[in-house]
Symmetry: C2
Subunit: 251 residues, 2 copies
Amino acid sequence: MRSLTAWVPAGCPDIRPGADLASTVLEVCRSNALELARGDVLVLAQKVVSKAEGAVVHLAEIIAGPRAEQLAVEAEKDPRLCQVILDESARILRVRPGLIIAEHRLGFICANAGVDFSNVGLGSEWVCVLPKDPDGSAVRIRRAIAQAVGADVAVIINDTHGRPWREGAVGVAIGVAGLEPIYSYIGREDLYGYVLHSSIESVADELAATASLLQGQAAEGTPLVVIRGARFLPGAGRTKLLREPDKDMFR
Amino acid sequence: MRSLTAWVPAGCPDIRPGADLASTVLEVCRSNALELARGDVLVLAQKVVSKAEGAVVHLAEIIAGPRAEQLAVEAEKDPRLCQVILDESARILRVRPGLIIAEHRLGFICANAGVDFSNVGLGSEWVCVLPKDPDGSAVRIRRAIAQAVGADVAVIINDTHGRPWREGAVGVAIGVAGLEPIYSYIGREDLYGYVLHSSIESVADELAATASLLQGQAAEGTPLVVIRGARFLPGAGRTKLLREPDKDMFR
């Protein structure tokens, strides 16, 4: 009977700017007697990757410009926060009181362009932004783990994003290394020989969602999940998960 | 170390209209020595629920009306298929050659209003539609399992839906019983005491996505997944997963 198991090793330390994330992952796995193996998918919450890389901003050092002041009025948010959101965004898609939906400069569409107060832990005026290059972060962590313990693991950096049409955020992949994010069934036959012509599946996002079930978003302190038993092809790259704006009918 | 395991029991028989799905699930679990337990989440692919309930349509018996004929030209699809899609829809949101995005009368927004040729197995002109009342289907299967083996399992009926902005379909819940689909972190504190004020997570969709990783969409014949180790609250209902149109900024 095929199965998939996801573990959330306990005892992950507080991650501070400058932390060596790959070493931390290996230490936490070791202390949980979890030996990483070929084919495992290591999923890391965006927040710890951002923090380790120093992708944090102190609002006290931000001066809001006129666009941010205007956005702050529309969204009923701190103008300095709005300045950071603008700095992170390619464009702002929708604004309502309490809510800004932005296209991040890396292509993700999400609330506040991923700028977030929760689980930062540096003081009340600090916010976290997305890693500068989450695919690059995933590649580096993957490489460091391979070098340290010889295990060929895939790495996904996940975040939780809201969605149009459906309530509740779900885990999505924002950085991918060692795993083809999309699996295409096109050209394959179904159970009865019908040739599939449109089925493609976002394996990376489904793995990110699986990890998100275990990570929680409050004081769990469990940013690290290891998934074993998933089927995937070699590959990489968040951009494969992002629909081109001209093919998007709902932007 | 906390973990979550998803099993995909082998040997699920071909499901035909009229099949007793709860009995089939129990037989398949038994033959895989998988004993259902309290807290397990049973995830069933929409296709087998629809087929068991006879939610299938023979296109040879459909006569396309003028709206369907027009939609068929715009979408470059069979007019009779377009008639079935219209019959299933509350409204059509977008049309392009090869693609119809519709709001299903149950509120789901998806390609072709969920009408699908794959894995039907009744002949080339048969299509499958969504179950009439997927929450009701989930409740009935849950109740039948509780009566047969005394196990209090949650039941999710899942489908794979495309999404705006991101490539690839992902598993989503279209029917839910015994599980609160949304988990709210609002009012809880993060690791550092910051009170979360906007985090809600679609646990049901994340469980549906986890199952989808194992189900596949081609000739795997694995519509049934059992997930153990997930945390959820009691509850039910697909409607909690559907954003009200007037709160939706991207419809």
